[in-house]
Amino acid sequence: MSNQYIIQPDLNFIDEVVGLGGDTLKKCFQCATCSVACPIAPENSPFPRKEMIAASWGLKDKLVGSADIWLCHECGDCTALCPRGAKPGATLSAIRSYAISEYSGSVPVIGKLAKMVTDPKKLALLTAIPAAWLALMAFITMFMGGTMEKIFHVIGLHWYHVTEAPIAQARFISTWLVDMTFVPVFNISLLIFAYTLYKMISDMHANAVAEGKTSKETLDYKEYFKTIPVVLKKVLKHTQFNECGENKNRGTAHMMVLFGFIGCLIVTTIGFFFLYALGKPGPYSQWWPFKWLGNISGIAIVFGAILMIKERLSKSDLSAYKDWYLLGLVLILGATGLLTQMARLAGMEFATYAIYYIHLIAVFHLFAYLPFSKLAHSVYRLAAMTYAEYANRK
């Protein structure tokens, strides 16, 4: 038989998916209620029934490179209706987590982080690294007065990052040092994504061809990238989330967080422009419109995160470490961002710097561990949805 698929179960893969929150996957008895219940599964070769058997048979190669696992938004309709309590939603989520580790773990040297990010025991270490580094930066800023300015003066640049304001974050850790930390970290993350996405997109295509889920024979990257705007529109509108029957509120909460982050990204970019182009360092007046945007975004992130945490708590068995890690991080990011500002306006110097320190550690988590954590879904899901749109998956 020419197109025979040779079964090679990977028992470790099953163990890992079980450990990542898929502990119920072996309960599945293949009734396909989930595939019928899923509001977003395509008609041709719908999920997640086939993913459930592939997972319980340990067929890693069928899952990791599949775009379908990313099309799922874990709305929970399938889990609610599953007659065996196999929780297909949680299983797919665990498989995605495995896929993130698998792709990001394949990056040379730094790939080791993949395992650490999904391991709760490594959380302290992963936090200690930025904590130590940022403590060093604070030490340099506070006790080695204007180090960076001095260095710049040597090469003829007269940049100032410290304002006249009595309390400013830059007095605690120089903006120079912050940017010199995070700009490279963020860019390395982008490079990792570029590296893994290349692999992933070709894997997705190969998988789709093998399982007859695509209208395209060869992968045309130009066409593929042209599809992104269509998908982005869907993502921003949360079209897929809104089809969900079981956890309707998650769509709103997710939207708040997503738009909150986008808002913060815009504000940060404007801040960059002010600082480096206009030479005008913060803190800025609360009357400035982009400050409004920043505050609204911060509030949106906090509220969105709280809503999602509340919802997950009400279904405590639905969530694994990877979920709590991400939600905790988002909440801390938003909360410390807002609190730093509040403490500063209240004139509480120590509190301002202490909270800011935590905020920066959180930002480090966000940027440095992005390609390895659940947050990577923002990139992988977009890539998969784009592929599905491009390949006419219906």
Partner: protein, 774 residues
């Protein structure tokens, strides 16, 4: 003692409103039977009224009211013959006064009061019957053995023996092999037997053996088989023997069909057949010769179990049959019981094992005799692979995965193992690839054709009941040593699976465990209890001289008037339970405790010499004759009379359910219940037509392979006899359509009135019986 008649008429449940009960008293008085009318006979006062009559010497009582199926506990009068007239069901509820009004002052003498005519007839029929029946006396064996013989020393046999011994019966277990235990003694582990049904347990067989050995009421005979079981329940004379020897009391076998005909295919005459039969069974004593050294038993429990099916031949070639590493589940169990799972071909570790549940020969059938047990065995054996090897992988490819009832818990738990992989699928081939095997399957849940590399392949061989190979019970019965027609049960020892578990087609012999259907050890042990209780019931019933089942407690038994027997052998051959053994001349020898009192012999006998004390040719014949058949002399438009003989087992409750729902039935029909359609003698039909009745129909159980007849063959035999009566009718220039037989199940209450009324319409359309009035 002369019989004194008494008629008690109940006016309750709508009878009084619909029927003129004073008129019924007049009808009874025609027969010189005193009649009493009561408002509610089943009340304390009503029963007291009857008891008063009994005290005054009335012993043949006609209770006119409800069916004999209800209030049977209330209307019990010792030493009295009862006839219950179902006036409520057959008249008051099914012939409505709205449609058939009472006679009014304006009506002339030719007015037809259909309701009253029916009621009058039923009184006449009851009294006619009472005149022709006798009080039954039980058949008591001169001496009775209360010992129970258990055939088979496996889990079922041992459990049955323990259960029977514990309630005080002496039990002998005969075991063909040298040791107790059966298949259960060959297992590594067994399926769970109780909540939560989730994991394998160590075999329970060793404990069971100890329990048997500790029980003083149990005798164990190993290396022993049954040579023959002669006689009847309560006095079975059993010859036991060493399986390896031939003895004169080995049971004779009937002539195979191929030996009954000459080279031209013509059947030999009776004399020649007897000669050939004797030649065929040379050295063996006839069934009627009792072994003087035989051991006496009261009842037999057949727990002979099963053997693993052999999977061979071209049909299974694609499964790699013949390769040393392709084994059956039974062979796999043997390997597992010895130690770690290793390949038969080279003794290497077998870490990848594929369990194939269905041969996939173009359909989704499983292997023969496979079912839920083999499904669970596959799960069990998959677990062995996982127990032995941490990286072991067990695949089960099935068409059906059956884990009924609470064993679902077992399925769930086995499925939880990371290394157990289940899929529905069609196995297309098993091929040798180097030192391992490649199993290919299509239409799997994985959505494509798959290939699995395996060290070993295990085929789910079914559990063949041993009765497929051998009679085992070796009954010295004229009908043969084995159960008849077991082919329709795939050779399982069974008679009517749904209604009567444990009961075989031979009274006093009860099957339990895997000889009856494939079972787990848990099911077998429970089944054993049922069969043990049945055996106890049998011995107890025989001891009191009453029937065991389905007519439990029936004291009557067939009585033969031998002077007029023509030795036609029909009764011996047609008895569904082999109760009769004829001698060389063909004279039947009745074995009353084998009998189930269905009356099939009575229906068969052309000389009409067989009858029961309260049910015989004359009693029913007289009822038929007592029905008044009006003619043109009586009315301008004389109503027709159609006789219905209906089965008491299913048709009667169905009809009565219809009556409860007030379904309307044509008033021209008269109903007479019979024990079984098999007991219907065609003379009754001839009598009915001869006296001018316009049609006759039988209403009984479904027959054929999926029969529902409580007496296995009754409705089928009735059907054969009815087809023959058709010729007789034709010779009398009567339309054969005037006689019919209908099948009804117990839940057909909504269809039966329609069936009956349609038949009546057909007969009405044919016009009256030309013999009317002669």
């Amino acid at each position: 003692m002369s019989n004194k008649f008494g008629v008690y008429i109940c006016k309750g449940c709508g009878i009084g409103e619909s029927i003129d009960c004073d008129q019924l008293v007049n009808v009874a008085s025609e027969k010189h039977a005193p009649a009493v009318i009561h408002d509610c006979l089943c009340s304390a006062d009503g029963v007291a009224t009857i008891k008063k009559g009994v005290a005054e010497g009335i012993n043949f009582i006609s209770i006119v009211g409800c069916s004999k199926r209800v209030n049977s506990d209330i209307f019990q009068f010792d030493g009295c013959m009862l006839d219950r007239v179902a006036m409520r069901e057959n008249v008051a509820w099914t012939i409505s006064r709205e449609k058939y009004p009472k006679k009014t002052e304006n009506d002339d003498e030719y007015f037809v009061d259909n309701v009253q005519l029916a009621a009058d007839d039923y009184i006449r029929m009851s009294l006619a019957r009472l005149e022709k029946v006798k009080l039954p006396e039980p058949f008591i064996l001169p001496s009775i053995s209360k010992k129970i013989l258990v055939i088979g020393g496996g889990m079922t046999g041992m459990s049955a023996a323990i259960d029977a011994a514990k309630v005080g019966y002496e039990v002998t277990i005969v075991e063909k092999t040298g040791a107790l235990g059966g298949y259960a003694a060959k297992m590594r582990k067994q399926m769970p037997v109780g909540e939560p049904y989730d994991s394998l347990i160590p075999p329970m067989v060793a404990e069971k053996i100890k329990e048997v050995q500790a029980e003083k009421n149990i005798t164990v005979r190993t290396n022993t088989v049954v040579a023959r079981i002669a006689g009847q329940p309560g006095e079975f004379t059993v010859t036991l023997k060493d399986p390896s020897v031939q003895i004169e009391f080995d049971v004779p076998f009937p002539l195979p069909d191929s030996m009954k005909v000459d080279e031209n295919g013509k059947e030999y005459d009776a004399e020649k057949l007897l000669e050939l039969y004797k030649e065929f069974n040379k050295g063996k004593n006839d069934v009627l010769t009792l072994d003087p050294n035989g051991e006496l038993f009261g009842a037999v429990i057949l727990a002979a179990g099963w053997r693993p099916d052999v999977i061979e031949g071209d049909a299974f070639k694609h499964l790699g049959v013949g390769d040393a590493d392709v084994v059956t589940n039974a062979q796999f169990e043997e390997i597992a019981a010895k130690g770690k799972i290793v390949r038969p071909s080279d003794g290497k570790e077998a870490k990848n094992v594929v369990f194939i549940q269905s041969p996939s020969n173009g359909d989704d059938r499983d292997f023969n005799y496979a079912g839920s047990v083999t499904s669970m065995v596959a799960l069990k054996q998959a677990k062995y692979v996982r127990e032995d090897y941490e990286d072991g992988k067990a695949y089960i490819i099935y068409q059906h995965m059956r884990t009924p009832g609470l064993t679902e818990g077992f399925y769930k738990n086995m499925q939880q193992d990371n290394g157990v992989f289940l899929t529905k699928g069609e196995v297309t081939s098993v091929e040798k690839k180097g030192s391992s095997l490649l199993v290919s399957a299509k239409n799997t849940l994985l959505g494509e054709s798959i290939g699995i590399k395996a060290d070993m392949v295990v085929l789910a061989a079914g559990m063949v009941p041993v009765t497929a190979d051998d009679p085992v019970v070796n009954m010295a019965y004229r009908q043969g040593p084995a159960f008849r027609d077991n082919g329709i049960f795939d050779q399982y020892a069974d008679s009517n699976f749904i209604c009567f578990p444990y009961e075989t087609q031979r009274t006093g012999i009860y099957a339990a465990g895997c000889v009856r259907r494939s079972m787990t050890i848990e099911e077998s042990m429970e089944d054993a209890t049922g069969a043990a209780l049945k055996a106890v019931q049998c011995i107890d019933s025989v001891n009191r001289g009453v029937a065991v089942h389905p007519r439990s407690g029936d004291m009557t038994f067939p009585d033969f008037f031998f002077q007029r027997c023509t030795q036609c052998k029909r009764c011996t051959q047609e008895c569904p339970f082999g109760a009769l053994d004829d001698d060389e001349k063909g004279t039947p020898k009745p074995n009353p405790t084998r009998c189930r009192r269905c009356g099939t012999c009575m229906g068969a006998c052309p000389e009409r010499i067989i009858g029961f004390a309260d049910y015989n040719i004359d009693s029913i014949g007289s009822m038929v004759k007592s029905i008044w058949v009006p003619s043109e002399d009586d009315y301008y438009n004389a109503p027709m009379r159609i006789l219905c003989l209906y089965c008491e087992n299913d048709a009667m409750p169905a009809l009565e359910m219809a009556a409860m729902k007030k379904s309307q039935i044509d008033p021209q029909v008269r109903f007479i219940p019979v024990r079984c359609l098999g007991s219907v003698n065609t003379i009754w039909i001839k009598d009915a037509l001869a006296q001018g009745m316009d049609g006759v129909f039988l209403l009984g159980c479904k027959h054929g392979d999926d029969y529902q007849c409580h007496f296995v063959k009754g409705s089928e035999l009735a059907n054969v006899r009815m087809s023959k009566i058709g010729d007789a009718l034709a010779s009398l220039a009567l339309e054969t359509e005037r006689v019919a037989q209908f099948e009804a199940a117990i839940d057909d209450y909504d269809k039966i009135p329609g069936m009956i009324n349609a038949f009546v319409e057909k007969v009405v359309a044919m016009g009256p019986n030309p013999f009317k009035g002669f």
